[in-house]
């Protein structure tokens, strides 16, 4: 019942076939010389990194360092002041609108608050992208939506409105919507924020499952150390003071080997439990 990219349509009803991912999975995401700015205020400059197929890539840094802004650049919601974002050999920043739209079909995004549409039930929220971009009938859409909600532990909540469920459930429903079209690349904006430790752990497990079973590449904005070490195998560290990316690599390797004091301090919660972190994750 799940959709495949070949059955996906554009917003004007045309089948989108101009941008295709290779059979072996989503292409690497390459960020080249990216400068993020709000007007004349430069938030971060000269960011360069690559996210490989199958990575769970963590964007980390302190509050106000520009993590969510970087995510918005990757999604094309903000035009970079300088530099480009590439998906494989497709220049997403400068690409044609139709091709960019086609690329969006391969993305799934979980926003910080879930970003559910409040006027729709959970099933309608999950079903909207299915209705817009597939040829499935209404009954099939409802069936797929129920499946996706069941996958995130919300079986039976199909007819609830977002205002009737808790914050954690909204986040899970947002995830169900994000995976509605079986995306090749999933973006998570601070998935653990506002969740209790158990829900947070379950969400981490779910992210690992999605990577292992859907073969998706996953980009996560987070500053939750437990989640970062539990799921991340690649990362960048953004530093607000120097307005630059100051580390890149596996978070566990950064904890063990990074010599930059700022990164070390962050990964050890200010150095107070450095030994504990090293023991647990090293």
């Amino acid at each position: 019942m799940a959709t495949t990219p070949s059955s996906i349509k554009s917003s004007d009803g045309k089948r989108l076939s101009r941008v295709k991912f290779p059979k072996e999975g989503p292409p690497p995401i390459t960020v080249k010389n990216l400068t993020m700015a709000y007007g004349t205020f430069v938030l971060m400059k000269d960011i360069n990194f690559t996210v490989n197929h199958g990575d769970i890539f963590i964007i980390m840094g302190g509050s106000g360092s520009g993590k969510s802004t970087l995510l918005r650049h990757l999604l094309g919601l903000i035009v970079p002041a300088e530099g480009e974002v590439w998906y494989g050999d497709f220049n997403f920043t400068r690409g044609e609108p139709l091709e960019r739209e086609a690329m969006l079909r391969y993305f799934g995004v979980l926003y910080q608050s879930g970003a559910l549409w409040n006027s729709m039930t959970l099933a309608e929220n999950v079903g909207l992208p299915l209705g817009e971009f597939t040829d499935l009938s209404d009954a099939e859409i409802r069936e797929v939506a129920a499946l996706k909600l069941a996958l995130v532990g919300l079986k039976g909540f199909e007819d609830y409105y977002p205002s009737q469920i808790s914050g954690g459930m909204k986040k899970r429903a947002g995830l169900a919507r994000a995976i509605a079209l079986d995306p090749e690349i999933l973006f998570f904006d601070e998935p653990s924020s506002g969740l209790d430790p158990i829900s947070s752990r379950l969400l981490d497990d779910l992210i690992l499952e999605l990577r292992d079973n859907l073969g998706a590449t996953i980009v996560v904005v987070s500053h939750e150390l437990a989640s970062i070490f539990a799921i991340g195998n690649n990362s960048v560290f953004l530093d607000a003071e120097s307005r630059a990316m100051i580390a890149h690599g596996d978070p566990k390797d950064l904890l063990a080997h990074c010599t930059d004091q700022r990164v070390k301090t962050f990964l050890t919660r200010g150095g107070k439990d450095a030994d504990k972190s090293a023991r647990n994750h090293g």
Binding site: S10, S11, D12, G13, R72, L75, G76, L77, E101, A102, L104, R105, F107, V109, Y111, Q112, S113, A115, L116, W117, N118, S119, L128, P129, E132, F133, R177, E241
Partner: protein, 383 residues
């Protein structure tokens, strides 16, 4: 050692000199925030008094209870010491005080983070306001163009939105507004009739109140009053709805899914206003005439039948259709202004309120500008 005691609302602050080069700040009694704070400037005065001290220390032997009032005072003293490069010995202070001051100073102030007070001249402010207004107009026209393209896409069957959203918007812009339109339009008719009656009665031409009210309502007042009510009611609601959706990233979610927020959110709302305001305008015209007839019957002793016949003779179809056409244009203006302000909303709850206010102001101003332009154009066309 000489001591100088200062009278303070909170605690006791006194100064002394040891070996003439060290200023001793003596803290005694209870220091509570609620009882007010001494000015750190008192320390500044002591530092400027000859012989000028080269270091500073504290005497907290008599210090009783304290809270953040004491900390605030000491942070002020610390800042003075930093500015003057004056070494200070904090060790005589209680350990808790030192710990909290250390915590407050642990993260250095971020350079450039502090807002500087702007001292723009009147000319600069006028220039900035003009540029902002011109930009605002440019953005409005660009957004109007985008809505026009989306509408053209709808006409050729390519724009997409949920039909249920259009129906809900039509209900909000139509049936739900009946009550307030009824009240306001009837009263506008009454007011117009009163104003006319006072003058026309002097010439024995009271019957022409019907002409006055009928023509005024059908040509302009019906459309404009309906538009102003809808700008305050529906335009603000649109801005608040879309602004909230922006704050909760629902609009981002649509965009990253490849669904055009313009088609999905704006089109049904603008379309609903475009379709409903002309109908409300005709309804408002009728209610205005009814208000006039009420005044005619009760104050001028004109029968309702006579009043209606006089109105029918005076008002032409062209005037009614002109009013309906204007109302449709006002509907688009209000819808576009409301949705644009919603999209421009900042990322906070107060920004949603600002967006709603701005939508009402923009909508009403542009409606009145459009009304003036219509008056000029209709006059040119001889309508």
């Amino acid at each position: 050692m000489q001591a100088l005691k200062q009278s303070q609302p909170s605690g006791e602050l006194s100064f002394a000199r040891s070996d003439n080069s060290t200023l001793v700040v003596r803290l005694a009694g209870d220091w509570h925030l609620r009882r007010g704070l001494p000015e750190p400037d008192l320390v500044l005065k002591q530092l400027d008094t000859a012989p000028k001290p080269v270091r500073l220390t504290f005497d907290a032997a008599g210090l009783g209870d304290w809270d953040s009032g004491l900390l605030t005072f000491l942070m002020g003293v610390s800042e003075i010491c930093h500015k003057r490069n004056l070494p200070a010995d904090w060790s005589p202070l209680p350990e808790g005080v030192r710990g909290l001051i250390q915590l407050a100073e642990a993260v250095p102030e971020k350079l450039g983070a502090r807002h500087e007070a702007s001292h723009a001249t009147f000319i600069e402010e006028l220039g900035q306001a003009t540029i902002l207004y011109a930009r605002g107009l440019q953005e409005f026209l660009r957004f109007l163009g985008e809505v026009a393209i989306a509408f053209a896409m709808l006409c050729v069957g390519k724009a997409r939105f949920r039909r249920v959203d259009l129906m809900i918007a039509i209900q909000d812009c139509g049936a739900s507004a009946f009550g307030i339109i009824t009240l306001v339009s009837f009263l506008v008719g009454v007011i117009l009739a009163f104003m006319g009656a006072v003058q026309l009665q002097q010439f024995g031409a009271a019957i022409y109140v019907a002409d006055l009210v009928g023509i005024a309502m059908s040509r302009d007042m019906g459309a404009m009053m309906t538009a102003i009510i809808m700008a305050g009611r529906t335009g603000a609601a649109f801005a608040a709805q879309l602004g909230s959706m922006k704050v909760t990233q629902e609009i981002d979610a649509l965009t990253t899914m490849g669904i055009s927020p313009l088609e999905f959110l704006v089109l049904p709302r603008v379309l609903a206003l475009f379709l409903m305001i002309p109908l409300l305008c005709v309804y408002a015209d009728c209610l205005g005439v009814a208000g006039g007839a009420f005044v005619g019957a009760t104050m001028l002793h004109i029968s309702v039948g006579t009043y209606i016949r006089e109105t029918a003779n005076a008002v032409t179809l062209t005037e009614i259709l002109g009013g309906v056409f204007k109302a449709a244009v006002y509907g688009v203006i209000i819808g576009v202004a409301g949705c644009l302000r919603g999209f421009q909303c900042g990322d906070s709850s107060s920004a949603v309120g600002d967006a709603a206010t701005s939508a009402v102001v923009t909508g009403i101003v542009y409606v009145i500008v459009a009304c003036g332009m219509f008056a000029f154009i209709f006059n040119l066309l001889g309508l």
